[in-house]
């Protein structure tokens, strides 16, 4: 059963359509844009339409493509006979004009006649199912007349050229500042001398201690200095240059912890696996139950999925708890102490920074579990983004396709996602990236959604400008 967009066109195999109500994404990543024409060939596996693009003569061209049925139905409209004729006539003229010396085109009247006969034949045999939805007709003014001037096509019926692919940033080009360079950055863009002094005299040591433990847990795969720089930049950003306080959404303190995030930390710290049987034993038991006929294959699948999820959650929480215990703290709070007033107090910077580290590491482990291939530096920056919109939100809206492993890709996907937090996360990512990027000292972004959502940078903070250079922060 197909559950479709009830307000779209009923798409029938062996018929041609114009894409007009938005683009269509195919399984190969192609985008069919408004103005293009397609011929739907068949329904594929119940969920997709198989189709081909049509050329200027409405001939199928290129490989067979596949896209979700509901999205195709929502995006296409029927073509009227008049439209087909007009298109072929216009297309013939244009193609003839361009390629006539090399590829003579058949006389356009003949092509139109062939199509007319073909469509009339379909109508006679009842093969064409026309949608009751009225098809938008061109206004008389837009209809080309067969004069020399009208050979230029109507803009909407031409396939839209694809935008040029911009080179994606190589993974290795995520060059982090050294912690010392990051310190210069913070000095340059400080909010106030007092707040900056707090960083220099208190938070910096906490961050470096945390980064050492973090680096050790990853077996050195993630360089300690990179963790230091990333975490410093993340907290610098989150806390509005070491201020902390309460945000409009109720997030608190240096790490801007929400109630949900505090609960998450408490859940990790109180995790106490009570199961005595191994996950492998449980899997084996389920399989033998199935073999004995006491479980259906659907039940087996569900139960195995459950065990797999519990195992992953267990592994993640154990690793995070280990990380927490390995971070040096003068006063290590119990889970029950971690409440709103605790995280709002900048004097608890050791624990709050360790909590932020848990969030970051949690994200990295989740992405590893989902086999999202990213090198350590890229993954750290991605997780700084996830710090803002959650791992699920970031995976869904920024990474999307498994290939999106660059900042540009995340920004582009976020922009297209339509998610309500998209602008804020883009702003956040750009700001953190400006802070961590080695050899660059571009200003941090403000917290308004309109700041810094574009990657191009400006207004670098130079030594000459320091310390008055505050960029967009002020």
């Amino acid at each position: 059963m197909q559950i479709s967009n009830l307000f779209g066109v009923e798409v029938t195999p062996d018929h041609s359509y114009r894409v007009s109500n938005g683009s269509i994404e195919t399984t190969t990543g192609d985008i069919i844009r408004p103005g293009e024409f397609i011929k739907v060939t068949r329904v594929h596996q119940g969920w997709a339409f198989a189709f081909q693009r049509l050329d200027n003569y409405l001939r199928p061209t290129g490989p067979m493509l596949f896209a979700s049925r509901n999205w195709v139905e929502a995006a296409v409209t029927d073509m009227s006979i008049e439209e087909i004729i007009r298109m072929v006539q216009g297309a013939g003229d244009v193609v003839q004009e361009i390629v006539a010396p090399r590829v003579p085109c058949p006389p356009r009247d003949d092509i139109a006649q062939i199509i007319l006969e073909s469509v009339a034949g379909d109508l006679n045999t009842g093969a064409v199912t026309r949608s009751p939805r009225p098809v938008a007709r061109p206004t008389p003014a837009a209809t080309p007349t067969p004069t020399e001037e009208s050979f230029a096509p109507i803009s909407s019926i031409r396939p839209v050229p694809r935008p040029e692919r911009r080179p994606t940033r190589e993974l290795s080009s995520f060059l982090y500042k050294s912690p010392a360079d990051a310190d210069s950055y913070f000095a340059c863009y400080k909010n106030s001398n007092d707040l900056h002094l707090d960083y220099e005299t208190r938070y910096r040591t906490s961050i470096r201690r945390m980064a050492q433990a973090y680096g050790q847990q990853t077996g050195g795969e993630i360089p300690q200095d990179d963790v230091t720089t990333l975490m410093s930049c993340l907290i610098f950003r989150e806390s509005a240059q070491w201020r902390g306080g309460t945000s409009s959404t109720g997030a608190l303190g240096l790490g801007q912890f929400t109630q949900t995030a505090r609960e998450q930390v408490r859940d990790i710290l109180t995790y106490n696996p009570s199961r005595t049987r191994s996950f492998d034993d449980r899997v084996a038991e389920q399989r033998s139950e199935r073999e004995a006929g006491r479980l259906s294959s659907a039940e087996l699948r569900r139960n195995l999925g459950m065990i797999e999820a519990e195992r992953d959650n267990h592994d993640r929480k154990v690793a995070l708890k280990e990380l927490w215990n390995s971070i040096p703290m003068t006063n290590r709070p119990s889970a029950s102490q971690i409440n709103s007033s605790f995280v709002a107090d900048n004097d608890n910077h050791e624990a709050v920074i360790a909590m932020s580290a848990l969030m970051l590491r949690n994200c990295q482990i989740r992405m590893e579990q989902d086999d999202i291939e990213m090198d350590a530096r890229t993954s750290l920056l991605a997780c700084a983004g996830a710090y803002n919109m959650g791992v699920g939100g970031f995976q869904q809206n920024a990474i999307v396709r498994n290939g999106a492993q660059s900042l540009e890709g995340w920004i582009r996907n976020l922009r297209n996602s339509g998610d309500s937090q998209s602008a804020e996360t883009r702003n956040h990512l750009v700001s953190v990236n400006r802070c961590i990027s080695g050899g660059e000292n571009f200003p941090p972004c403000g917290t308004g959604p309109d700041y810094c959502t574009a990657l191009p940078m400006s207004n670098p903070c130079t030594e000459d400008a320091s310390p008055t250079c505050v960029g967009e922060c002020r």
Partner: protein, 129 residues
């Protein structure tokens, strides 16, 4: 004809006029989506996982029946991670298990879950005693 069938199930999956989710509707959906995922096949499901324009069915599978997703489906583990708490909530349907599941979802999406999950959080909330 297909539109009439679709209309019948509009209460379950029609995004234009979302009806209230309930346990009975989810149970009905589970069987249907099991069959749907079998028809589509693992290979295509993995392809769908890499697309933005996904069939509506995938939203429901990810939210409520993620065990139907094949290995290699983008975000499978992420979607599975709240399944134990959802399953517990489904069995017990009380405030404690509801809160546990809700917290899991809110943690994943930083308090901004996708629309369907937000609907479920609202619609499946146990009545207060």
């Amino acid at each position: 004809m297909r539109k009439y069938i679709a209309l019948l199930f509009c209460g379950l999956i029609c995004s234009a006029t979302p009806a209230k989710l309930s346990w009975s509707k989810l149970e009905l959906l589970e069987g249907k989506l099991e069959k749907w995922s079998q028809n589509v096949g693992e290979k295509d499901l993995i392809k769908i996982g890499k697309m933005n324009q996904r069939p509506e069915e995938i939203k429901y599978i990810r939210a409520f029946f993620p065990y139907l997703l094949p290995q290699g489906f983008f975000s499978r583990k992420l979607d599975l991670s709240c399944y134990p708490s959802f399953d517990q909530f489904k069995k017990e349907r009380n405030s404690k298990t509801y809160h546990s599941w809700k917290s899991c979802i809110n943690e994943l999406y930083a308090d901004n879950p996708p629309e369907l999950l937000q609907r479920a959080i609202n619609d499946l909330r146990p009545a207060s005693k």
